[in-house]
Symmetry: C3
Subunit: 142 residues, 3 copies
């Protein structure tokens, strides 16, 4: 059982799509098994993080901007892949540090997420994008 989630982004930051995933599992009648998400891009990431206080998302974005500044920043002057804009190579770097794939067990139709865990698309590019996340569910044989 497979599908593709489409996530529209408008600049760097986190975009939650937990509900799309849980709705898909429910609509398909998933019971017990394994859910895998895979993002089909090299300049954005998947992330499971806290979805209670929105400040966490603000701080995550701020940390990664400081860890990997734009290629027009003096500290990044060693970068050579710069012709697609100052946010391009830093996006590839962030997409290497953060997950491209995630696996979540599913029990009785629900992902076994903790209370505060939400599923996010972490966009690393400045311009708007339409991002594709491939989803795969494999049921435990009964």
């Amino acid at each position: 059982m497979q599908t593709v989630f489409s996530v529209r982004t408008s600049g760097q930051g986190l975009y939650e799509f937990t509900h799309s995933v849980s709705s898909w599992l429910r609509d398909e009648g998933a019971a017990d098994g394994l859910l895998t998400l895979f993002v089909r891009h090299t300049s954005c990431s998947l992330l499971i993080q806290e979805n209670a206080d929105p400040d966490v998302q603000v701080d995550l974005k701020a940390f990664f901007e400081r860890l990997v500044p734009g290629s027009d920043h003096p500290s990044m002057n060693y970068l050579v892949h710069t012709y697609e804009g100052p946010d391009d190579m830093p996006a590839h770097i962030k997409a290497s540090i953060l997950p491209v794939s995630l696996s979540v067990p599913v029990s009785a139709g629900r992902m076994v997420l903790g209370t505060w865990q939400g599923i996010y698309l972490f966009e690393h590019r400045a311009n708007p994008h339409q991002r594709q996340v491939a989803a795969h569910f494999l049921a435990t044989p009964v």
Copy 2:
């Protein structure tokens, strides 16, 4: 086949639980398939790393403390999610950089870990916690 491993932590650092996982696979008679681990928290991580020299764990903890200092450190004064203590937002950041899920093939009842690979819960909070790691095994159909 699913279970939940409980890992008790007492401060930041790595807690190995490889043996709990391999014992569970053996007790359940797992043969060939795929093991997935998923940590149900946003302030600790899973990690597969060397389990020979304990100094590796000391150095890993030291590196991540320097990469992401407490929010009371001058270099982190841009953080806004600070009301749960100086180790809270850094814990979310480390939990973004390090794995929330891991998948390990299982062959003839054993995880195909390399000689020096152990499975750890990496605690990022200072206070003691009881951490839950969901485990899922999917057998290869025969």
Copy 3:
């Protein structure tokens, strides 16, 4: 269905083996299912990243060298696991930050990789190595 890919490395950097994986899936007649890759070492990583412009690989290597310099660098003088050479403990650190396992859905015999995504072994040690990547394919029941 399992196999082990062997990747020969000659120093730090990225080694693509996408073709080995896709050939294996085709040769085995894989249809729909889930591919998992797992690297059996603690001083190299897996990575899915852009395979169009080789400069991206140059920049990735350069970034991680700066993020985690050798243990003979003054900024790393707190490291204690240093007896296997200045590139050893930094290799463990990089192997903690970058993926040890990857999961990719397979549809109609092909991994659902995006246009620019290639699969790499990211070597963190200076000396030549023969690296083992365990591969596991689980077919969706029909």
